[in-house]
């Protein structure tokens, strides 16, 4: 059991009478990428917020590195090394790459009361980090607004890693991106995992999830339909397991019948 970096056991969350999550279990080892798949309304957002410490689970336990913990706030989760990158990325497009990278956690220098933002050091680190991912920023003082969507996503992830993330929770990192950009981001996620991070990748796009994931958890109407290792499940099976699967089958049958009746 010690083996797992982080475990979420039988997590449930209720909002009044609404059961948003019921008995969701996820376990991650270092270097593992778990993809959390689910259609809209499956409870993904609630789960993310529970992982990030925004919501407290009503049932179940969270175990980080073998120790049972309770997150009282997003800061608690962050202190335990669980960093969540939301869809809005928490980037300010008018601010420079450096100022975004260190937003809220600026390195300081100088004597007390006259401590200043050590912008040279910050510039150097930001440029280095972005360079490592292969993102060419000529000038770390350029505005984030000039970067592409994929680059912004990578910046947000890179920032989380730099500030000590052990578990990365990524909320739909590829949903707003084109094919090429998405593949760049996915590649970066795989690299991050290979460095020993555990990654929870939340997405509704099986085609993005399947190539990079080690295991897959499918969420439907607040319940987990199970976790599958990659070797035990095909892409097609995953697709049909997501809420759309049955529905689409039904739709296909109905359409065929419509066709038959119209040709008659």
């Amino acid at each position: 059991m010690q083996d797992y970096l982080v475990q979420f056991n039988n997590i449930s969350k209720f909002f009044g009478k609404v059961i948003a999550l019921k008995d969701v279990t996820m376990k991650l080892r270092k270097g593992e990428i778990m993809c959390l798949l689910g259609d809209n309304g499956a409870g993904k957002s609630t789960l993310i917020k529970t992982l990030a410490g925004v919501h407290k689970p009503d049932e179940g336990e969270i175990i980080v590195e073998g120790k049972k913990t309770i997150f009282d706030s997003p800061k608690d989760a962050l202190d335990m090394g669980i960093a969540t990158v939301y869809q809005d990325l928490a980037l300010v497009s008018l601010m420079s790459v450096t100022r975004n990278f260190f937003m809220g956690r600026e390195p300081l220098k100088g004597p007390p009361f006259f401590r200043t933002f050590d912008i040279d050091k910050a510039n150097k680190i930001a440029a280095e980090r972005m360079g490592q991912i292969g993102i060419d920023i000529r000038d770390p003082s350029q505005a984030v607004g000039t970067m592409s969507g994929g680059e912004r996503q990578c910046l947000a992830i890179s920032r989380a890693i730099y500030f000590g993330a052990k578990v990365l929770v990524l909320d739909e990192p590829t949903s707003a991106l084109g094919v090429h950009q998405a593949s760049v981001v996915l590649k970066y996620i795989v690299k991050a995992a290979s460095q020993g991070l555990a990654v929870i990748l939340i997405t509704h796009n099986v085609h993005h999830a399947y190539p990079v994931g080690n295991s897959f958890t499918v969420l439907n109407r607040g319940k987990s339909l199970g976790t599958y290792a990659k070797k035990n499940i095909t892409r097609e099976k995953l697709l049909s397991m997501m809420a759309g699967g049955e529905e689409l089958n039904k739709l296909e049958v109905e359409l065929q019948e419509m066709n038959r009746s119209s040709t008659n």
């Binding site: 928490a90 497009s93 008018l94 809220g104 912008i119």
Partner: protein
């Protein structure tokens, strides 16, 4: 906690210096928010240099005159700019000026307080008003435009009502005699560098009165305050963690919150800043005029915002500079005084002010699009 993960990939050999040199100085300058205001100020000086160069405008006395007007506006414009960068407005600045003036005058004249105590009292009230504005905006999530518009009326009304209640009038004169020997008032009431002007006068380089003393006696306190505040504000914005938080709070409130920026505290402190700046403005004026007037500062909040906008601040927050606002104030101050030296009717000043603001907003909007658009 920082450099735990090793380099993930070293695909690009990154040489920062080599690449930085490719960005020309001009392009760097173009990216600065104060560029427009700097250009505008240069144009204004060229214009008046041609039109009014041979009048008294650019004599020592004339220069100090328009610098004084610019500086007074600049003191509140800088604070307004900081708040705008933080994503909020303060429409109660003008009313705060009137209120602060009365807070100094009534205790000093009617309650027999020493002047320094009244001044401290006025600044304490400013902190309270600013805090109240800030906490109201942060807690309710209402637009600061509306909250401070309400405060505009409340403060102005209270100023009038309280003053009439206590004094039976709307003006409180008689402060001038109290300035001498006061341990605090000199900070707001002393002309500095008098020896320079005395010397210039003795060399016959500047105009003299009939008694032989120079017409321009020294740098007015407003100008010193203006310069000091510009430097401090710019330092805060560019060089400190708090400065980064101001940009972040104005640029994206939620994003900033998510990464641990105390957005609420930043905004409240900026509201306190505008109220305190209004009180500095009021103290200088009250001590200079020797009297307080309940209507003082009327419409100043709009002039301050106009100067901040001309200085490159975006109305949506997250972008701007204190130096820009300072240049914006310099433009308005110079034109409002300079127009007296030309044949142009002074009625046209407001037209100029409005036109200038329109041009600035359009220009800023273009810059914003350029900065935020992806490649």
């Amino acid at each position: 906690m920082s450099t735990k993960s090793k380099s993930i990939e070293t695909k690009t050999d990154f040489n920062q210096d080599e690449r930085l040199k490719k960005v020309s100085k001009l392009r760097l300058l173009l990216n600065r928010p104060e560029l427009g205001a700097l250009g505008g100020a240069i144009l204004v000086f060229i214009f008046f240099g041609i039109v009014a160069g041979d009048t008294g405008m650019f004599s020592a006395y004339g220069i100090l005159n328009f610098l004084d007007v610019s500086a007074n506006l600049g003191i509140i414009a800088i604070a307004a700019a900081m708040l705008m960068i933080g994503g909020e407005f303060d429409l109660s600045i003008g009313s705060m000026i009137g209120f602060a003036g009365i807070c100094i005058a009534i205790p000093a004249i009617y309650w027999g307080w020493p002047l320094w105590m009244s001044i401290i009292f006025a600044f304490s009230m400013a902190v309270l008003v600013g805090y109240f504005n800030g906490i109201l905006v942060v807690r309710t999530g209402l637009p600061s435009f509306i909250v401070t518009l309400a405060m505009l009326f409340i403060l102005r009304g209270a100023t009038l009502a309280i003053t009439r209640l206590i004094t039976g009038r709307t003006q409180v004169p008689g402060l001038r005699v109290l300035i001498e020997d006061d341990p605090l008032a000199w900070i707001f009431a002393t002309d500095t560098f008098k020896w320079v002007f005395t010397w210039l006068g003795s060399m016959n380089l500047i105009a003299l009165r009939t008694d032989g003393t120079p017409l321009a006696t020294g740098i007015p306190p407003s100008v010193i305050w203006f310069i000091v505040l510009t430097i401090i504000s710019t330092w805060i914005l560019m060089k400190t963690r708090y400065g980064n938080w101001i940009f972040a709070s104005g640029g994206d409130k939620n994003g900033a919150n998510n990464v641990g920026v105390p957005v609420g505290r930043v905004k409240i402190s900026l509201f306190i800043g505008t109220a305190v700046a209004a009180t500095i403005f009021a103290t200088i004026q009250v001590l200079d005029a020797g009297s307080a007037d309940t209507m003082r500062g009327t419409l100043k909040e709009l002039e301050a915002i106009a100067a901040a906008v001309v200085g490159g601040c975006l109305l949506t927050g997250g972008y701007g500079s204190a130096i820009g606002a300072a240049f914006g104030a310099l433009i308005f101050g110079t034109v409002s005084m300079g127009i007296f030296y030309t044949d142009v009717d002074t009625d046209w000043f407001k037209v100029f002010l409005g036109a200038m603001m329109l041009i600035a907003v359009i220009f800023n909007n273009y810059i914003r699009r350029k900065v935020t658009e992806s490649k």
